[in-house]
Point group: C2
Chain length 463, copies 2
């Protein structure tokens, strides 16, 4: 395995191949095949998103993949923002279609033609739905598994509210979901209000979740958008308020994608391979029976342990393949399995298990009864991952107060006046783009470029 620090890009591609997460040899560039192990990780993330969405009153729907050109062109800024990236269906069978159909690049245009049929009165609000689907972008840039692909596994929540204030409350709710998710994923991020020229096409404002990755770039792992009444006015999404007057709804969205997997691979992985927080791990505990005289009994004891773990809701397997224990240890470490239980002659005699955490070198002996506390061990792994990820985040974030430090290979925090001119100057010097003002941070200081009063902001090269 390539050394992660040496050549992150190479290491990243190699671990995706070795752990069999996805296969990029499909003959359409940027459209990859999800392999069983990678898909299971994605589905675990989807399950968490379903759980948290439902908790927050957001219901799952699923819209068609095709959007007619007329439907898409209702909101001018929106379609303009995507026009170079849309796949167009122009033929059905052997005959040209009357109107071109877009593969959804995102689903505003699909959903907002239906919203007026569903939202009539203030009693229908707030209206909150999400879907987990593939979206399509005809990317011309260099593609990279899970980071920049042409078919994207996508979570998108869309809500409508009686007014801007209520929509703003939804934005806070999204942050709660993001916080729960990032705890499960052990990922730390910065919340940046994107500059106007980089916000979502059609939005009032966009907040992005950016996380530093190896390779000295940040990765945008999610976004929330406040649309105000912009889409509502274009798509005619109105309701009868309590006074019997028609009002436009205010809208918000929340988007996440398979980039979450990229972040997990990139931030948590090491030279042995993947490191997976336990809620994401397809196998949470691997049991390795150690060959010896009474192997049948060892296997039987392993089965007992497996049943006990399954009863606790743990995803576990016994590795009974015809390989050496050492080979198996490496293999499951590469796969990022949080806990390994070794069961040999000694463990059988003592009715114990030897526990290895993916995140620690030492092994622990535990009595059979200790298995009831398996979640303590799993949480320990998560806590180790979290600590390491926090340290990585801190190590790769720096506050600077003079422009000469702008080239530092980190996510840079600095005061910025907000002008395009000053951000262009920063980009020219360092290839770093303005991620935007730090959300919920009111400190001000002199812009590191022009010296005018600025807000605390983040700059970085990006994936």
């Amino acid at each position: 395995m390539e050394n992660k620090k040496n050549d992150f890009s190479e290491w990243y591609n190699e671990i995706i191949d070795t752990a069999k997460l996805s296969d990029k040899r499909y003959n359409i560039k940027g459209m990859n095949v999800w392999l069983p192990y990678g898909l299971k990780i994605m589905h675990s993330i989807d399950s968490l998103l379903r759980e948290y969405s439902e908790e927050h009153g957001i219901e799952e729907v699923s819209f068609p993949v095709l959007i007619s050109r007329e439907q898409l062109e209702v909101e001018f800024e929106h379609v303009k923002g995507f026009e170079n990236e849309i796949y167009w269906v122009t033929k059905g069978g052997t005959t040209p279609l009357d109107i071109d159909l877009a593969l959804r690049p995102t689903s505003e245009a699909a959903m907002y033609t239906m919203f007026p049929l569903w939202i009539r009165s203030h009693t229908d609000l707030p209206f909150r739905v999400y879907q987990i689907v593939s979206v399509y972008r005809y990317e011309t840039k260099h593609t990279r598994s899970f980071i920049r692909v042409r078919e994207i596994h996508f979570y998108e929540a869309h809500t409508a509210h009686i007014n801007f204030e209520d929509a703003e409350k939804q934005m806070v709710d999204y942050l709660k979901i993001m916080e729960k998710l990032s705890t499960d994923l052990c990922i730390k991020f910065s919340m940046n209000i994107r500059p106007d020229w980089d916000k979502f096409p059609g939005a009032m404002y966009s907040v992005a979740f950016d996380t530093p990755m190896p390779g000295n770039r940040t990765l945008q792992i999610g976004t929330i958008h406040e649309y105000g009444e912009n889409f509502a006015k274009n798509y005619g999404i109105k309701y009868l308020d309590e006074n019997g007057e028609m009002q436009y709804v205010s809208q918000t969205t929340f988007g996440l994608s398979e980039r979450l997997i990229a972040a997990i691979i990139g931030i948590h992985g090491d030279d042995k391979g993947l490191v997976l927080p336990y809620k994401l791990a397809p196998v949470q505990v691997i049991i390795v029976p150690i060959p010896g005289d009474n192997y049948d009994e060892i296997l039987e004891y392993s089965e007992t342990i497996k049943s006990k773990l399954s009863g606790l809701g743990v995803r576990c397997q016994i590795d009974n393949r015809d390989y050496t224990p050492g080979y198996k240890f490496n293999d499951w470490e590469m796969k990022g399995v949080p806990l390994r239980l070794e069961i040999g002659k000694r463990e059988l005699q003592e009715q114990s298990v030897t526990i290895s955490l993916r995140t620690e070198k030492k092994k622990t002996k535990a009595k059979f009864e200790e298995i009831d506390h398996i979640y303590d061990y799993l949480n320990q792994v998560n806590s180790d991952i979290q600590d390491k990820a926090s340290k990585f985040y801190e190590d790769n974030t720096v506050f600077i107060d003079t422009l000469d430090k702008i080239k530092e290979d980190k996510m840079v925090m600095a005061y910025w006046c907000g002008s395009k001119a000053c951000s262009d100057r920063i980009e020219a010097l360092s290839e770093k783009t303005a991620l935007g003002n730090i959300k919920d941070n009111n400190s001000t200081g002199p812009c590191i470029v022009c010296g005018k009063t600025g807000k605390l902001s983040a700059f970085s090269r990006t994936y």
Copy 2:
């Protein structure tokens, strides 16, 4: 609600609207929006399919939606079978693509270009994968929710084997999955070996699962296909056998779709609305507190019951809306919820519950402790549904031995020589098409058309 017997089509459309399963008002014909309740039912079916597939060693993958024209044209019969139904992507952004890309109508062409990269040796076989994705057909026929749509929720398993015999074993394995599934869904079906002219394009033979539906037509709810080496030869899927020789694999597939929901609606539903087998029900038990003096205590007791049920893994809700009990009873019956628990003053006093089954008129009183046996009640509902569905199947299937009975409004079983001429004659007389020879039935008799020796076969009008 429309009377089901009176006008099945109207009843079917109405229940889909009323129970909010899907919305067909999206502005592309045949592309419907999955609403939360309908999507949850579909996801429950998906979960069962995932469980059974994994049990049978079939692993989940996910392939790109786009297939290049070259890739699709590798197998001539295959592409010819679909050429009039394919949506073609011809533009990316504003520029024409070098090669047209098809929205998958099915995934043979997508998968089988990757199989040669994954299958090298006999040790890689059997190779078994499935995916749950949308597939696309540019239907020119009249569309109907869940039955004939242009974006189809689809399960497709694909396997590769060392030889035909091993592939045939897989076909038997598929039947085991289908049997488990149909038990959960309480649906009975006939297994028909499709005539050659109606088999899957590129297959050696196809077996379809056909079930009689109201409206005097059968619905094809699933198919399994034996491909032999046909696709393997076209796509070059070979392996090194134990003797060091290259051999072509033998392949099979298994396809199911959202038509399973159509069958459940159509076969089990009644004039009150949906009737759902409990494994599919988004709400398995609805608790209706009956207003009275001590309503707070009644609610509290309802919560206790809900916790107990949730602890047993039951999906349950308390309906605390501001409607009359009668309204709520009707509403949840319309939604097909298997069990209703009524909790009033009397039940609170006695620490009991009143249980109503969706399938029976009478109510049962049970002690609080009885709730531990809730699955007995749920299984009773399934058993009632099963009985009714079996009766419906029997009532709508008939054996005939003379051609004059061919017009009977049922799925007709008759001896048939297998010739196209005789099936054309049957179709001309009755609009019934040949569903094919009954699988695993070896009885023979004189063809009802020409009198030559024939096999027992099924004929029906179809959806």
